[in-house]
């Protein structure tokens, strides 16, 4: 099985990898940043553990979105079923392009959601009764990851496959 004769499949697989890798990296960075802030607060006040843990988990969703798009892509191109489809390079590139929104937006929004979560953890540290409001700030960043997820899913499913 030569790579050159299966270039379409390689591109499509690269798309799935980009979605999982970039969005996952964004989540890892975001959860890491928020985790540092959470650890700082719990060092001084362990009673806030549950609240800051929720804040820390918020940037983790991008990784899940990337996984979802990657999973759909693998399923569509038949790799999951064990019988890969014969894709021409043009179709493979279309699948790769469809995977890019969640990959790129996942990376950027994951990092910035982590930073916003860290700042919101500061609110919880000083005013725990304002937890609801504090959670809204990082949740706003999530909007754009969801939009990218939507477009990636629609595009992956819309690419005509043989």
């Amino acid at each position: 099985m030569s790579i050159w004769s299966n270039l379409g499949l390689v591109y499509a697989l690269l798309g799935a990898a980009v979605a999982v890798f970039l969005a996952g990296a964004g989540s890892a960075i975001g959860v890491g940043i928020a985790g540092q802030a959470a650890a700082g607060v719990v060092t001084e006040d362990p009673s806030k553990f549950a609240k800051v843990l929720i804040m820390q988990l918020l940037p983790g969703t991008q990784g899940i979105y990337g996984l979802l798009v990657g999973f759909i892509t693998l399923s569509n191109i038949g790799l999951l079923g064990g019988s890969p489809k014969a894709l021409d390079p043009q179709t493979g590139l279309l699948v790769l392009a469809a995977c890019l929104p969640i990959g790129i937006v996942g990376l950027i929004s994951g990092k910035y959601q982590g930073m916003t979560s860290a700042a919101a953890i500061g609110i919880v540290a000083k005013k725990p009764d304002q937890f609801g409001k504090a959670m809204l700030f990082p949740a706003m960043v999530e909007t754009y990851a969801i939009l990218a997820l939507l477009i990636s899913i629609l595009a992956v499913n819309a690419v005509p496959l043989p």
Binding site: A37, G40, A125, K126
Partner: protein, 322 residues
């Protein structure tokens, strides 16, 4: 924007909850006597379980706690140079006077600085001024010679205090962090204004003021010292045209209102750090806020000990950070 201070800032945010607010200070002032004040502080967690119920022991322990927290955050301690310089230069001053006068009192030194009392005494005794930080060497030599030949303690103080201000200002100029630059600028400018006010009251010469004041961007040493020669009204008029106009108003109220304004000005400078999440600023602001808090509590305790009326104590109380 760096995330290296994320842990430190979040921890500081949790600690800020325990800082005294203006309302807590009001409660402390409302305590009926000195002993009740100590009891109040103890209930607020000041001191440790084994700390004697004495003001100085409690306040010293609180000062130690500040630096214990900062060391625990594992941030670059060089960032705090601007805060430790006054203590370091105090050690130099004390060591020179000790050596020149021949006394050996080790209780007048700060030990929580890069050159503690014993080491400073040794350096001054052996005249090994090269072992001091670059900004201290020349001032140390000059102050030592002045003290040795003239026995003029005030001259020694002026030389070292000026060098301390220059060091703070230079550290501020070199710093990348906005808070350190702002703090250094405010500290030096407020110190210059204090020197001008005190020099005016004690009829000091222009030469003395020029020697004592340090250059900074927000206050002109030449104009301020000339104003001081022309009287208190001239100082007020000059300040009205600077960023320190509130100081002029405080000056017209009372000397204690002016001293209060000097400290409040620093707290106002650091106040924006309450809203920063990823810089060293909130950590430095916390240290300054804690020192301000301890200073305010010391003022209240000493007022209570001397049976000062509540209004009189209130006039001297500093603004709190939170």
């Amino acid at each position: 924007m760096s995330e290296q201070y994320t842990y430190a800032v979040a921890r500081i945010r949790a600690l800020e909850v325990a800082l005294f607010s203006n309302a807590t200070i009001d409660q402390l002032i409302a305590c009926s006597d000195y002993d009740q004040c100590l009891q109040f502080l103890s209930e607020k967690g000041w001191g440790d379980s084994d700390t004697p119920m004495q003001a100085e022991a409690i306040l010293t322990r609180e000062e130690e706690k500040i630096w214990e927290v900062v060391k625990d955050l594992h941030v670059d301690m060089e960032k705090f140079d601007v805060l430790s310089y006054p203590k370091l230069f105090h050690n130099l001053k004390a060591a020179i006077k000790n050596v020149c006068v021949g006394e050996r009192d080790r209780h007048i030194f700060y030990e929580d600085v890069s050159i503690p009392g014993g080491a400073m005494l040794e350096i001054v005794k052996e005249k090994e001024f090269g072992k001091l930080p670059a900004g201290m060497q020349h001032a140390a030599e000059e102050a030592y010679e002045a003290m040795l030949h003239t026995r003029d303690g005030q001259l020694c103080d002026v030389i070292i205090d000026r060098a301390a201000l220059d060091a703070v200002y230079a550290a501020g100029k070199e710093a990348k962090d906005e808070i350190i630059r702002d703090y250094a600028e405010s500290t030096v400018a407020v110190a210059d204004i204090k020197i001008a006010v005190r020099s005016q009251k004690t009829a000091k010469s222009l030469e003395f003021m020029t020697r004592a004041m340090a250059e900074c961007d927000s206050v002109s040493v030449a104009q301020l010292s000339k104003a001081a020669l022309n009287g208190m009204d001239a100082i007020r008029d000059y300040l009205m045209g600077t960023a320190y106009a509130e100081g002029a108003e405080a000056l017209s109220q009372s000397p204690s209102a002016f001293e209060r304004w000097c400290d409040n000005r620093i707290i106002q400078t650091i106040s924006p750090q309450k809203y920063k999440a990823f810089t060293i600023g909130p950590v430095i602001a916390y240290v300054i806020a804690r020192q301000n808090e301890i200073k305010t509590v010391r003022i209240i305790l000493s007022g209570k000990l001397n049976d000062l009326p509540e209004d009189s104590i209130r006039e001297r109380v500093r603004e709190m950070y939170v």
